[in-house]
Amino acid sequence: MRFPSEKSTKESLVALAMLLPSLIFLTAFTYWPILRSLYFSFHDVMLGSNKIYFLGWENYERVLTDALFWKSFRNTAFYTLITIPAAIICALLLAVALDTKIRGVALYRSAFFYPVMIPSVAAGMVWVFLYAPGYGPINGMMDILGLPKLEWLYSSEWALPAIMIMSIWKYSGYFMLILLAALQLVPRDLYEAAKLDGVSTWHQLIHITIPLISPTIYFVVIIGILHSYQIFDYVFVMTQGGPADSTNVLTLYIYQNAFQYQDIGFASTVANMLLLFIGILIALIAATLGRRVHYLGS
């Protein structure tokens, strides 16, 4: 009786010892801040002051009636809704194209992965130059193609799409790499069989490739949503949320409230709303898309 229980105690101690490092970090830098921000959201907390006043639901009332919160919310949702599907489609096409034995495939793969390796602040600055209305190469190209020149980052209509285009460029390579790894695990004989039956390349993609790599696509969708809700660096570097808040997103709005307006209580409230929203979104995706994932061998 004593022997197995001792063994399991020992095992759980080992498990605890192995979990401890990450548990310490998660507690200190994730769970504890989440609890703190929940606490702060019901209080009036000011950066640089140790006086805290209880407010009840006041911060939440303010958030729900705050036009700028809803604008940032809409901007973030719009950004995610367009950027992530577009980047995944680009990535999938790239991955399928580069999963073949064409000449110089390693070079192409590195070339398309290259944007991922550029630090986001540097990439942001480069795109600020590319988008410059007067001398920017993008407007130069639009001029050659006979398209109207745009004001890009200086226009409240085009600033957000401009950041989205750049994000698609940046995300595609990253997603491509993940999808490429998944593609290489798809058994080749399935394609050979399909070819013998005269199935077109397009139908092979729809009926073989996509179902078999669906767990990875699911993973990429989740990662993509998480990434895009955390978008901050590009906006901060390229537009600071402007013009006219057309590129303000939730993370930037949290930052502004916390550090520009010193209103930690309100910033925490927005952060909690963001957390709640991402939670609901992920749950929805898990309940719909997650159920359709096809696991190889199961």
Binding site: L47, G48, G242, P243, F259, D263
Partner: protein
Amino acid sequence: MTSTKLPISRRHFLQVGAGAITAAGMLGTTPLFASGTDVVKLQFMYPVGVSGDINRIVTGMINDFNASHEKVQVEPIYAGSYDNTEQKVMTSLGVGEPPATWLPINSALQTFLGMDALADVTAMAKADDIYQDFLPGFLSICESEEKLYGLPFQCSTPVLYYNKDLFAKAGINKAPDTWAELMETAKALTIRNGADVSQWGVTFGGGWHDWIFESFVRQNAFVPWQKDKVMFDAPEAIDALEFWVKMVKEGVMPSASTWQGSANDFMAGRTAMLYHSTGSLTNLRKSSPFEVGVAFMPKNKTYGATIGGGPILMAKNQPDTHLQASWTFARWMTNTQNQTHWCKETGYIAARKSSWEGEDLKAFVNEVPAAKVALEQAAYAGAFLQVPGYHKVREYLKSALDRTLAGEIDPTSALKDATKQANREIERLMRRRG
């Protein structure tokens, strides 16, 4: 020298040793409480708030200061925009290590006072020529309840810049003087090809359009704020915003722009008129390939302008020697000669009467009459939105203006909403102050 025994007992040795350790400990803190003979090191955080090579000019001035002052050395810290600078100062205040001096926008005065961050320099100023020589309007932006908290350094107002070539091409020979004329002139100068506008009639520098907006409200003979509340929903303010909406609907003004982008547009001839800071004057004048005209912002009931730009403020939480040194620095940056230099180099309005009476600036005004427009307009100018929580309050106002100009909401509802939200924020901060 017969005895080899040291004349120190063990106890004596320990006492001396303890003393030495204490002394060494104190030595570590000496930079904070430097004695008269040491060099006092100060930090100065400043922004670049207009278009042009301001950074080089400020650094040059500080180098001159350091070269001419043996006992005070100032470290210039360029901190980005006004918002970035103020934020950096607030963060340092939060951890109890503020810079000795900094340059915010004057509107942040109440915010810093709320944080108990500012040294009262009234006595030092009274012992000096400050109250006699500074233009009263500019000095008042550093005052609260008759106490002085800084020295005005880079004073500006928005002015109307116009492209004389484009005016001549359209057969117009004078800048608009009233809102009605502004509308007419802007219409005459707008060039569109179908839906595309290749030349706007007028652009208001975005990002600081709330500052420009307050000028419009002042032109309706109203100041939309008091020390503890805002009145953005007053009829005078709603009327001003309705005028803006009319300009956008007529298609003579873009509904949004950026601060730097609008200046670039003006220099590239993409807008014929521009509302921008006087601080941009020298850059616009020198970088534009055409002759730049400068005029008063057109009046409605009266002329009116808002003072932007900033005072040099000094931290309360610093030893006396450092406060003295900070004063020496602020005083030097705003002396007659430096205000003249700064005014010529940038277009910011020199804050001292003696600068304007000096031969140097007189000669400059003869050569560039535009430099004097802002000074004359300053007679109609007042401080900008000096309320607690200014950063958040102006964000509510900007958002209201932006949403209205984008056609998402009508002027009255937008300004009512902004007023409600802003006053709630001010109340919260007043409550905190207790």
